[in-house]
Amino acid sequence: MKVRLFGITFLLLLLTLAFHIEGDAEPKENKMLLVSAGTFTMGSGNRALDERPVHKVYLDSFYISKYEVTNSEYYEFWKSLQEKNEKTAEVKPQHTPENFTHLPHIGNWPERAKKFPDHPVVGVSWHDAKAYAQWKGMRLPTEAEWEKAARGYSNNLWPWGNALKPNANTAEDNDGFDNRLAPVGSYPQGKSFFGAMDMAGNVWEWTADWYSDVYYFHSPKQNPTGPTEGSWRVVRGGSWIDKLTRCGTTFRFYLYPTLKTSFVGFRLAKSVEKDKK
């Protein structure tokens, strides 16, 4: 009898673990926004050295996702890989986001996909981000696309303009989400000219490009796609652990593509098919 009771308890424990994923919030729809073709000003002449020189760049029309890719969106991709793994008897889980046990506002995967469906997915490497984008039939934005989507045709410091007021989740105090991630789209006032949200703060965003501090001196004037080689991939936009000054529209940063951290996520881009332009 005792053994049976123990068995039932054990089974219940297993079931609890298996169905730990909970939460019932409806995830936000991540629309693709059209960024019209045209020339914009890239870089800055009076900020960091790697933002120089200021130069004009022409980009074809493209789409950019309104929000950073969320936990719930990434979960669908991850789940499909799990199912594929089961079929092929492959044991190693592919593209699984890193766990952040010490950060309860992020937590572990896959539990956080249901607990925080609208939070940007973090703990993903550049390779994970690229794989997700390909699975969606899209791609990561190039650095130039990212900057155009963030600054539009202005010379503003941040996507919303030049005002210091907190329109983004950064390391500054009293921005509504101190020391933690925010659900995507929490700062509607902070949207960019093209309507993209959270292009400053919350999470750094992987771009497709390799980093080079002198690329702007030599980049093509039309549709630049970054250097052909490098060690680091460009990340843009700053994050919840960064001061507002690092979240500017022109600020460039770089990380090893293999890193999986709590402050880097990504958003998607897609080219506009020529006949639909």
Binding site: F100, T101, L164, V214
Partner: protein, 397 residues
């Protein structure tokens, strides 16, 4: 018998779970420390970054990227030998990682081990022929090693990659100076001055030396005077930077650094430094005039960067803290005028004049704005006051 078997199975399962849990915990600790390391590194808390990355690597030692970041933290902390050791460990794992090779050579350069710097730099430039920083440091290393012809070749490559880089022209100038090719030296030092920031002292020294060697004493003297003035700013900058690095709560250090940065017209960095000054002043309950001074300087920096809208908030705060300070109202007036808000600008300039009638420039500002809105009589009166006060001041001097 059956119950013993079940207990045995549960025991075995428990053991394996325990093992999994231990592995998970270790990896969690690794992740936690890596995160701590990054956050500390970004905040400039390099000693904490070192501790955290070391703790992470003690658990999972083979991450070449984390070794690179640990080395950077050691280097930022000026623990050069530790940095070399850690970069070398990273290179052992991934020998063709150009960024670690470059970081290693930077440390060798700092240690004045220029010969050691050359080898990894040659590898960097071979592996990545567009690595401007690699060519630049290789050129500088050759200058230090007195291999001037090689230095000139390499630095010319660097200029192709990063046009108008003042530092490279200065190094080429130095190489030509040592080769006694003074015309080329002067040409390159002049370009270094042209393309450099206003605080770049070295090319003035080079020009002073080159002019001296060709007998142009007056020109040499003038360049040396500029060099000394700029050098003093740079010495102050180093001193205050060191002070704030050693004691991040040293308000005097941050304040001194902000002043130097404003003098050097490095407004971006001045803004960040002044924001730190403001935070520290609040925390340390500094007198209101100190806090007001920082707010005002922050506004000035924004104005100098042509962001007058951003200046309004900090300068208004300064004026609230010190409502009898005419200068703050004058600055507010300037910011409003730059935005095109003439009514507010006039109100602020009038307030400045009311608080200090002896400052000629407040009258001049007011006069200009009155003129712009067609109040010619008032404009004329303040123009006259400006001229009278200026004459009086000059007489006193």
């Amino acid at each position: 018998m059956r119950s013993w078997l079940i207990i045995f199975i549960i025991f075995c399962f428990g053991c394996s779970l325990n093992g999994l849990y231990a592995q998970g915990t270790d990896h969690s600790t690794y992740v936690q420390n890596v995160e701590k390391g990054f956050i500390s590194l970004f905040k400039g808390e390099n000693a904490n970054a070192v501790k955290a990355f070391e703790a992470a690597l003690a658990i999972e030692p083979n991450h070449y990227e984390i070794l690179h970041y640990l080395g950077m933290a050691y280097a930022e902390n000026e623990s050069w030998n530790k940095a070399v050791e850690v970069f070398q460990r990273s290179i052992d794992i991934k020998p063709d990682n150009i960024e670690v090779l470059y970081s290693l050579s930077v440390v060798y350069f700092k240690l004045n081990q220029w010969e050691n710097a050359v080898e990894p730099l040659q590898k960097v430039t071979e592996l990545s022929p567009r690595h401007a920083r690699g060519f630049e440091l290789l050129g500088k290393s050759y200058v230090k090693l007195r291999q001037y012809a090689k230095a000139i070749d390499v630095l010319k490559e660097a200029i192709k990659l990063r046009p108008n880089a003042a530092q490279n022209y200065n190094e080429i100038g130095t190489a030509y100076l040592n080769l006694k090719q003074y015309t080329d030296a002067i040409e390159n030092f002049t370009k270094a001055v042209k393309f450099g920031t206003p605080d770049f002292a070295d090319p003035h020294f080079g020009l002073g030396t080159a002019y001296m060697r060709i007998g142009e004493r007056e020109k040499s003297k003038a360049e040396m005077q500029i060099y000394q003035r700029l050098q003093q700013n740079n010495v102050d900058y180093e001193r205050f930077t060191r002070l704030t690095r050693v004691d991040p709560n040293n308000l005097e250090g941050w304040s001194g650094l902000a002043k130097v940065l404003m003098r050097q017209k490095k407004y971006n960095r001045a803004i960040l430094t002044l924001q730190t000054c403001i935070e520290l002043s609040k925390k340390q309950k500094a007198p209101p005039q100190t806090l007001a001074g920082f707010y005002h300087a922050l506004g000035q920096a924004f104005i100098n960067m042509r962001y007058p809208k951003l200046a309004l908030e900090p300068v208004s705060k300064a004026a609230q803290l010190m409502p009898k300070n005419a200068l703050f109202f004058n600055t507010l007036g300037s910011a409003y005028a730059m935005i095109g808000d003439i009514n507010n600008a006039i109100a602020m300039f009038e307030k400045a004049v009311e608080l200090d009638q002896e400052q000629p420039y407040y009258h001049l500002n007011l006069s200009k704005l009155y003129q712009s809105i067609g109040r010619h009589q008032l404009a004329k009166e303040h123009q006259q006051l400006y001229q009278d006060l200026l004459a009086k001041q000059n007489k006193t001097k």
